[in-house]
């Protein structure tokens, strides 16, 4: 058996740095407490060297201009812990969630997959680094030894079987996490490291310190055994960021979204998953109008915070953070939040990544990720409702259709067999005449002779109807408000020549042709629906 323990030193600090990587090389102190009492609860080495002390008041810490002060964020610690679990799950399914900053993995039998124990430890460190975490890794055949070695020694520590006591010897007793009372007693005795503790006789130690003393003695000797308490990492991929100042513009928001997406994608990659949808949730700042409502006399106070929620659905699962950011930007540009943003939550819906085998003889098809980006840009240009695949609706109403998402298939066998007209496409000698629609329909004035249209006026033109076929009456939806009843005609129009050429379309002769007109019985008016072309 072999266990790898992963420990994140200065966990609250690293959780903040993970969300704000620019702080990594700066002096940083975290404050926590209940307003107005804020105290420094964590500080990195640079901040301690600058003079920051733990427990110092925030007002005192703020006097150190070289030190960045941030609030401790439980939300970011939760995200960092989830990332740590994903890191463990990327290597081994047998994992113990020991503490928010520590996990233990069972790495037995992974040598053929990753290499020896040191290689596994190195890979864990690299993967942690890509997820924004700097970790200590210790590998041992004893679970407790690995745990305490990861707490006590920086970098990678590989402890061979039988050398546990020797390796733990220089470790301070404090790393074994004794109670404060026992730690004080041991310090009075002059016992400061594991070597000194392991050298003590067990029975006298038991008489003086009880079972806790025996436990510490076993830990110091590397002789304590226990089983792994298995944990299963969740499938919730969510990253949050609370902002000190509200963000109202897209550019700074893009930086924040980019960071969160990078973290999400790194976590998804660690679990060999991809995102099939991204849920965006913003907590918005109260707008002026809302404040006004709160202070008005009659309206009740509105204490609920405003929120903005959007779902970005993807045609194929992806973990390309740059592409996701572009899509989110396009979505936000098309429908921006109406107030400044105070908190950002991004959640990814996990799915198995797309595995597609390209074919030499398959027709060209747009790359789904690139296509989604192109469609997003087109939607921004012409509007969401104006891009997609037309889909016919099961109705008799003329010209009814809806827009569906564009999802082409590249396999010819997946194209459904169309009706006979399409099947006979290759062999049919005479193609079907296409029809072009006027949107919206154009109102026309019609002269009738024996109930048949003979002259037409529309679009500033007048013309003779030299042939007509109709009426073709259609009606429907009488049970709804938008009932319709129309008499359609196919007409051939020859427009009169106009000497003034007041219209700019083109000469009337170029507009001659076959049109479809209809009389709307409900509106009692004639309209031109379109023309054959």
């Amino acid at each position: 058996m072999a266990f790898a323990s992963i420990h994140v030193p200065h966990f609250p600090l690293q959780a903040v740095v993970r969300a704000e990587p620019s702080l990594r090389n700066q002096a940083l102190a975290l404050v926590d407490g209940t307003p107005p009492i804020w105290n420094v609860v964590a500080a990195n080495q640079a901040a301690l060297q600058a003079g920051i002390e733990l427990g110092m008041a925030k007002s005192q810490a703020a006097q150190f201009h070289a030190v960045e002060i941030r609030n401790r964020s439980r939300v970011q610690e939760k995200s960092a812990h989830a990332a740590l679990l994903d890191l463990g799950a990327s290597v081994s399914p047998r994992m113990e969630d020991t503490a928010p900053d520590t996990i233990i993995l069972d790495i037995s039998g992974l040598a053929s997959l990753f290499g020896n124990e040191e290689t596994i430890a190195r890979q864990l460190m690299q993967r942690a680094s890509s997820m924004g975490l700097h970790v200590h890794v210790a590998v041992s055949s004893n679970l407790e030894v690995a745990l305490h070695a990861a707490h006590g020694f920086p970098g990678i520590t590989v402890i061979l079987p039988g050398e546990e006591a020797k390796c733990l010897a220089p470790l301070p007793v404090r790393a074994l996490l004794p109670s404060a009372e026992i730690l004080g007693t041991l310090e009075r005795w002059g016992v400061r490291d594991c070597a000194a503790l392991a050298a003590l006789p067990v029975l006298p130690l038991s008489e003086r310190l009880g079972q806790e003393g025996v436990r510490l003695h076993q830990l110091a000797r590397g002789a304590r055994l226990r089983s792994l308490v298995l944990a299963r990492p969740g499938v919730c991929f969510q990253e949050e960021m609370a902002l000190d100042f509200a963000v109202a513009e897209l550019e700074p928001l893009s930086f924040l979204l980019g960071r969160l997406l990078d973290q999400l994608c790194a976590r998804l990659e660690a679990r060999a998953l991809a995102a099939c949808a991204i849920r965006t949730h913003f907590d918005l700042e109260d707008s002026f109008e809302k404040d006004f409502q709160v202070f008005s006399e009659n309206s009740p106070p509105q204490l609920a915070s405003k929120t903005y929620e959007k779902i970005l659905s993807l045609p194929v699962p992806t973990r390309n953070s740059k592409m996701l950011l572009k899509l989110l930007r396009l979505q936000l540009q098309a429908d921006p939040p109406h107030a400044a943003i105070l908190k950002v939550i991004l959640a990814a819906e996990p799915a198995r990544p797309r595995a597609a085998q390209g074919g030499l003889f398959l027709p060209s098809c747009p790359d789904p990720e690139k296509l989604e980006l192109t469609i997003g840009r087109l939607a921004k240009l012409v509007g969401h409702t104006n891009v997609g695949s037309p889909e016919l609706i099961d109705t008799h109403r003329p010209g009814d259709f809806r827009m569906a998402p564009f999802a082409p298939v590249s396999d010819e066998s997946k194209i459904p067999q169309k009706h006979a007209t399409a099947v006979a496409q290759g062999s049919r000698e005479t193609p079907l005449t296409a029809f072009r629609v006027f949107r919206p329909e154009i109102q026309a004035n019609i002269e009738l002779q024996q109930n048949y249209p003979t002259r037409i006026y529309f679009r500033g033109l007048r013309g003779n109807i030299i042939a007509a076929s109709g009426p073709w009456r259609t009606s429907g939806d009488w049970w709804r408000e938008d009932i319709w009843q129309q008499d359609e005609w196919d007409v051939e129009i020859r427009f009169d020549s106009v000497s003034g050429q007041s219209q700019k379309i083109s000469s009337p002769r170029t507009q001659d042709g076959l049109y479809r007109i209809y009389y709307d019985s409900l509106r009692e008016a004639w309209f031109a629906r379109g023309r054959y072309d």
Partner: protein
């Protein structure tokens, strides 16, 4: 003088070595892949639609441009190619396309409102790549608006599709792409065919109106330019062969009883269509 020219030529070739393979020879023009338009007469006239090139179809209203477009779309979508239609005037009729055999799920329809949107959308789709067929429908736009489209836009479109498997087809009332188009077809409508039950009825529509039915109309396509044939390099011959051939073909209008039957089930629709195709 000849020696000086040869020296100069070798100096230039040396200076451009590694960047330009052969600065004094014409670039090889690859034989383009040509696909069917779905209309046999057009295929025999023009050979088909060239991939990696711009095809311009122009003509007045009701001249059969959209019929050719839908036939080409039906042929491409049946081959599971992804197709896009940039509709400059929002005039596309999905029902007509469905009946013509277009697989609508394979079609990306971009409904534009003006020429700026239309050109920008075309740029985006060409840059996105991967489409087998992109149609730019400017058929109902005002001719004076289209004349103001800068020539560089057409050059850009041509360059964007070059060396790609994409067919770019433009429908216009007048020819504007000039030399950027590899294939130019002018469409003209022939008189419509109306069915009558007797000669007497045919001569007097208003006396016997109820018996008239629209059958369809003829379309005359004229080939104005075609660069589809590979040409010899290292020569100064005209890079395309002017053609003045034309071809006439007929179209059919679906009878109205079928046209109004959009809401019926696919099976019934197919049965009616079979009867229609059978004659």
């Amino acid at each position: 003088m000849a020696v000086n020219l040869a020296t100069l030529r070798s100096n230039v070739e040396l200076a451009l070595a590694g960047r330009v393979a052969a600065p004094f020879s014409y670039r090889d023009r690859h034989a383009v892949e040509i696909v069917s338009t779905g209309i046999a007469e057009i295929d025999s006239l023009a050979g088909g639609l060239p991939r990696g090139a711009l095809t311009e179809i122009f003509g007045p209203a009701c001249s059969g441009r959209t019929t050719l477009l839908l036939s080409a779309l039906a042929a491409r979508t049946a081959q599971a190619e992804a197709c896009a239609l940039i509709d400059g005037c929002d005039a596309f009729d999905p029902h007509s396309a469905e009946i013509a055999g277009v697989e609508l799920k394979q079609l990306l329809w971009v409904r534009c409102r003006n020429i700026e949107q239309t050109l920008r959308a075309t740029d985006l789709l060409l840059q996105g790549g991967g489409f087998g067929f992109i149609a730019l429908d400017l058929g109902d736009m005002r001719a004076d608006v289209l004349r103001h489209v800068p020539l560089e836009s057409w050059f850009r479109f041509r360059r964007a599709v070059e060396d790609t498997p994409t067919i770019l087809m433009v429908l216009e009332p007048e020819s504007n792409a000039k030399t950027c188009a590899s294939l130019v077809l002018r469409m003209e409508a022939e008189p419509a065919r109306w069915s009558t039950t007797s000669e007497a009825q045919a001569t007097d529509f208003f006396r016997y109106p109820p018996s008239w039915l629209l059958e369809g109309f003829g379309i005359r396509a004229e080939l104005l330019r075609s660069r589809l044939q590979p040409i010899a390099t290292n020569s100064f011959q005209k890079p395309f062969a002017s053609a003045d051939r034309s071809e006439l073909f007929e179209t059919n209008v679906l009878r109205s009883y079928l046209r109004v039957a959009n809401g019926i089930s696919a099976e019934v629709k197919a049965r009616i269509a079979e009867e229609f195709v059978a004659g």
